[in-house]
Symmetry: D2
Subunit: 357 residues, 4 copies
């Protein structure tokens, strides 16, 4: 008999339900007796003892459904050691609820922040298994995260739509893709949709190089230019600022968003009309793509296996096309970023894509 | 033998290519000899004599393709009588090019602005046939325009994506749908995607009613509210301002866009987190949906028939499921708007949707 | 206080859930007290008293979902007056269950067969409201049925996929579209996807005309031909047979499906390779398109209104863009078919499409 | 200056155009002078000297387009050494055309058969670079082929559609997925869409185990069962036959297709209604998915690099997330198959999926 707590934390994404279904199906089909406690709205549910019992019927038909049946919330790691507004010790409360329910382990689905807290709970003596969920694919220790490929599909589709309209008019189009610190999503959506310029947080851009790339296209007879910009793209000069200085600069900017500021600059330097599109939260929504469904189901199944074996303290990740277990302490607090010298960047440049560097 | 000029003007949309293919196929399969002059980038091509000869192979494979193979541009009707920067009389130049090429007629695809200029050319003695293209479905004299249903699909998909993510978090989500003056697109996408509140230019909203609707949902246990807002949605008090006053107010606003201002107000009044999504130009892009392809092909075919019969001065429209011809002078300058007392509005209200009125 | 029974009968299709959600939402938001009895698996549930109580939460989130939450089954009208295998009188049993539950009315969603039985129940004294569901759009008394446009989207997408592969190879491709008696689906999907030949039950084809159309394409330099065939397409000579003779001929045929027989004939007459694709039940599946969601929601809302007004014995239909009520006795047993002389057929021919006639 | 011949051979698939665009873009942006000879319709074009000169504009806008702009054909390796019907030596003719045009190399896109012929040309002294195209992902020497993920998306969508309709009715549904020898496509689409039973060529099935799995579902209260069957799925007893005996048995069968025979058997053994869907060539069609566009573009870019370096005789493949070059002699004639003991199969079984073994 196994008693398992489960929660989804942080920004939601596609295939969370698929992954949870995978865990539960693999436990149930193992023949083991199980009880599943679904904590609602992320760590909040664990802190305040807010849960509901789940059975296999709760997981029927959710393979293809976006969002998370458990709800989610952001519970910042930064303040996890601080008492809540009523003076409650959040970490102690989570431990209390865990032990009171006599849980064998917690299955936690989340991204970077979530993993820091998960690792803290492990250090505090709880049995924890995590699953790597994020549209950013920025989790250290795994080649891939679920949500990523689905978000690539949506961002790609957004740029595809812009492509047909750009082709009809003579303009520069900027599409802002999600990703504050890491550019995998923008990079893949940009290459997939034939963007002409791709600007990533990891490769600070030179506005003059960007303008050069636009001009080069004009010279080759192209009427339009499409720029895929990550939310966290940054200019070379801003990259030299301290974090504090940069934050201050952003606050004083006419637009907090990089795309609108970039649009202004390009217009000033080229005189060309610029249009901005921000698909925003759409990129987290909708049903998971086939790739993510297979991927999340596989990870979920292997998480179930680890639970049956009583192997805790791991993130279930993916390395060289195999599902692997990665010690949580190796994952927590580390970020996987786009390497400016990686082969995909070189290949993108070979295709004529400018990174503004 | 027929010599036909063709151009697409204004913001592009889906099914422009499908409509042009319809015209050309119906002319060619009639057995008549034809020559087609495709003017590039809207009226600009006609003004400056910029065209290319088109044959049937140019229209092969474009039924499903978004944008327009002829390019487009906005040539404001307001300034059409003013000389260009080199002193060229634009209207005279269009007439000159028309008669120089010895054209039998012009086929013009466009929306409201385009139709005003098309009607002016008719008054100036040119033979004109128009086709109603706009994602806004705001053209007078026709039940439907092509581009509309395709844009509904995209805006609906955007709200669908937001729906799954809204369901996981406890928030108010605003999706800004295209439509400055007319709300058909927002209304249809809102009903199709199960939006809780729909705000249209034609029905000025009371912010307190909007907040009331959000609260009512909370009381019924719903964690989130989705608001579909037309770009041109307006509050009851702003609707009382003169056009000039309103423009001034918009200029001084922190955000020019209604959705961001609305988000601020809702946050102030409810304390709930609000997120804004702006699919923007995506709504004009991508390939046409099946409905628009059939519809645009049918209109195109009937336009070809009118040309063969030498019947000019008409927009090819759609009334009660039949393709009809509507005199251009009846169409030009008139706007079709959502009637606040129409049955679809009443039905939407019966479904529990709030219009903030 | 209203007690309402609800059931979905016949082959399922998209937007059944959307329509039921519309009925229930409009009843609930009217402020009236209501109880909803959902009979499971069509008339079977009514016959055998198999139902579950539904509340508004059952209808939450189902607007976009395909299938029917109530299940469906085919209960042939032909045998409705015959006792079941245990000697049970089916009609009496339905009446019994209706009166035992003290229902105010039955809401029945279905196609042609379903409407015959619904009308019979009306004649037997039950209060009945029906909603027109079918991917065939063949219900008399309404311009449109829900499911139709969603099925057009899927069949169109199937032919689109074939188009790209046909373009690469030199072949004839046949796509078999659903529709045994009526060709609206094939006609619309065929025009939408640029099929070269469209064969419908309503327009018997001459195989020599089909071959002629293929040859004409070859002469014009096209490498491939795409034929959209309705399941019930029929040759001119077969159309002369009696129903009985035709059934016999079909039974003895190498292939029961028209597409495979047609493929054989074309291969024999032209020597060209022919490939057949049968999307089949896919056409009933998946989520409803935006158009169907709006449409079904509107019909559902108006059905709710009729119930509140106590107006029974009607199908809620659609005429000239307005929702209308049509007496059931006018609908039952009649089929709406493609008129070979309708303008859409003429327009399709103007586009160069052959109907093999 | 480089003179490059290019051709696409075998069944077409998604991302062929994307891959060719990648090659050409990477060559052009390298600054090298290039001439590209596009041979039409696969090896046929090379044999008969049928080609057209391609420039960069031919590759504009084709990233997202399905099919191949060069056309394709099947030229069986088995008969490549036999003269054609006019006595022409095909291999000599290909060599003749290659040397007459003074080509530096041939870029060949294709699957297994194509690679055998490509390797033969290499042995005959031609410089050859190949790119792995196939929806089957069965090419030895590469983790992935382009076309595969796009086909998974389509097959998954087909089963998704069936899922909604299956849910409404009480039936067994069989979906036949492409793959005569290799089951990767069926396996991935089956897991992605939540199929209950998956039958692959690599894992011969026992019909009694299949029936057992259907019955087990019924006992758990499921109304329907979905079976994803590869075209080449085979029963345990048929797997014992010699190739010749099996071919003979197939010829004599009532249905050549495994799904229809399986349907008959299941109906006989369970009495349950069974429906068959065959998406067929749809799986090769439509535009490439985002994953395939990125993947094919990367391979294309690296192929361009090899050409610039004068490194010939390789297939450009993918290993452990990096693009690699694989000697053609290692690839030709080998098939990559699903390993019944691989972790994905084990994980699928942990999810409760039956493989009928």
């Amino acid at each position: 008999m196994k008693r398992i707590g489960m929660l989804t934390s942080g920004g939601d994404c596609q295939a969370l339900n698929a992954a949870m279904r995978g865990v539960v199906k693999s436990l149930i089909f193992s023949g083991e007796q199980i009880e599943i406690y679904g904590f609602l709205n992320g760590y909040q549910g664990l802190i305040y003892g807010n849960y509901r019992m789940l059975d296999v019927s709760d997981f029927s038909g959710i393979l293809t459904r976006g969002g998370t049946i458990l709800g989610s919330s952001r519970t910042p790691f930064k303040t996890i050691r601080q008492p809540d507004e009523n003076g409650l010790d959040k970490v102690e409360s989570m431990k209390h609820n865990y032990f009171k329910l006599n849980l064998d382990c917690l299955v936690i689905l989340g991204g970077n922040g979530t993993h820091k807290t998960a690792n803290l709970l492990r250090e505090e003596g709880l049995n924890v298994i995590t699953l790597p969920k994020t549209i950013d694919n920025d989790l250290w220790g795994t080649d891939m995260t679920f949500g990523f490929q689905s978000a690539v599909d949506i961002a790609t589709n957004a740029i595809d739509c812009i492509h047909t309209t750009a082709d009809s008019h003579s303009r520069v189009f900027i599409v802002e893709v999600m990703g504050h610190k890491v550019g995998f999503l923008t990079l893949n959506a940009g290459v997939a949709s034939g963007a002409d310029i791709i600007l990533l947080p990891e490769i600070p851009y030179d506005i003059d190089k960007v303008v050069e790339a636009i001009d080069a296209r004009k010279k080759r007879g192209s009427r339009f230019t499409i720029i895929a910009v990550a939310e966290g793209a940054i200019s070379k000069e801003d990259a030299k600022l301290s974090k504090k200085e940069y934050k201050k600069k952003l606050k004083e900017a006419t637009h907090p968003s990089v795309s609108y500021r970039l649009a202004d600059e390009i217009y000033k330097k080229t005189g060309q009309e610029v249009r901005v599109t921000v698909p925003g939260h759409m990129q987290r929504g909708g049903g998971p793509c086939a790739y993510d469904r297979v991927f999340a189901s596989r990870l979920g199944a292997e998480a179930g296996k680890l639970i049956l074996q009583g192997k805790y303290g791991f993130m279930v990740g993916y390395k060289n096309r195999e599902v692997v277990k990665v010690p949580l302490e190796e994952v927590a607090g580390k970020l996987k970023m786009v390497d400016p010298n990686s082969s995909i960047i070189k290949e993108a440049k070979m295709l004529g894509i400018s990174f503004g560097d």
